[in-house]
């Protein structure tokens, strides 16, 4: 096992455990402030956006570039998930469209 990978896994495990264990360990002596609760509400949407947008506008080498194949596939997945709330369906639609666009573009 490579050392960098081991550090990644141990670090991820550590921070995740803290978030799971801390409130239980404090045994409800501490309730989460409303402000924090509210902030947590936006974390997922922010993180997924910050991952997805750069995937669509930067190429593999990290240069800004409009990539029609990625953009069209992404819009298809976006529309599909919006209409049909299915995770597996969305992943399959995305792969299929991306695969087909590979022949056309």
């Amino acid at each position: 096992m490579r050392q960098e990978t081991l550090w990644i896994i141990l670090g991820m495990a550590g921070v995740t455990f803290v978030a799971r264990f801390l409130p239980m360990a404090l045994l409800s002596k501490w309730s989460i402030p409303e402000r924090v609760r509210l902030g947590l509400e936006y974390v997922p949407v922010a993180i997924f956006s910050a991952i997805v947008f750069p995937l669509l506008f930067f190429d593999q080498t990290g240069n800004f570039e409009i990539q029609p194949r990625c953009l069209l596939s992404a819009l298809s997945v976006f529309a599909f998930t919006w209409k049909v709330k299915s995770v597996w369906g969305s992943v399959l639609v995305g792969m299929l469209i991306y695969w087909m666009l590979g022949f056309m573009l």
């Binding site: 264990f21 947590l40 936006y42 910050a50 947008f53 992943v91 995305g94």
Partner: protein, 233 residues
């Protein structure tokens, strides 16, 4: 009728197992594609055991990210466990710290949802919750290792596989958009991540864009603009 509580927990885990096995398989395949070995994928599923953050880590590893940005991003993604853990703690009084640590380590969105639908069962003892969680995690680990193993046998560039992870993230993003405020949070995080990525080297752009969006989200609320419903865990 008088089944041991842990076995009732195992049974209650059935729908979770059916969900975790295929997703675990997908994780394994994508982890292998990003260069992780089956033992590495298995270890991650054993020690981290948090789906979205594992998929995000795999994506970042494939882009060559080092441990620090990956760990900070994981921390942010998994902060939501604070909410579930604090809710569960209301039902877990008088348990030893060791028992709590064991239960906490295996807490996921799904096991939380199932446990909360059977509150009376785990209020009496932790055996029910334990059976439920161990069974669920076994399914996740089995899927991950299996997927990483089979992932070595398939063509990594074929069948649209390079777009599997982006599709998953787009889907998870869309499922998060529950109000116009969420939509504008998406635009804020998306556009700022593009700017941060173009400006700084490395993978810090995810964390930077998330923190910026978080700050704006809290500020908007302070100035009195409503539009956020109560969180359903």
């Amino acid at each position: 009728m008088d089944e041991p509580a842990w076995r009732e927990g195992v049974k209650a885990a059935t729908p979770i197992v059916l969900g975790y096995l295929p997703v675990g398989l997908a994780f394994g395949v994508l982890a292998r594609r990003a260069g992780l070995t089956p033992p590495e994928a298995g270890l991650m599923s054993l020690l981290v055991y948090a789906g979205s953050s594992q998929f995000i880590a795999v994506e970042m590893i494939s882009k060559g990210a080092l441990w620090f940005p990956i760990v900070v991003t994981t921390f942010l993604v998994n902060l939501r466990h604070l909410l579930m853990s604090s809710t569960l703690s209301l039902y877990l009084n008088k348990k030893s710290l060791r028992t709590l640590a064991l239960l906490a380590a295996q807490l996921t969105d799904e096991s939380f949802a199932v446990a909360m639908s059977n509150r009376s069962k785990f209020a009496h003892g932790f055996a029910y919750l334990f059976g439920l969680q161990v069974t669920s995690q076994l399914a996740w680990i089995t899927g991950s290792v299996g997927g990483a193993f089979f992932g070595g046998l398939i063509d990594h560039e074929g069948y649209g596989l390079p777009f599997a992870l982006p599709s998953l993230f787009i889907c998870l993003l869309v499922l998060q958009i529950r109000s116009p405020v969420h939509f504008w949070m998406m635009m804020t995080a998306g556009v700022s991540s593009l700017i941060f990525k173009a400006t700084f080297s490395g993978n810090g752009y995810i964390v930077l864009a998330t923190l910026l969006t978080l700050g704006i989200g809290v500020l908007i609320h302070r100035t009195g603009r409503k539009g956020i419903e109560k969180i359903e865990p």
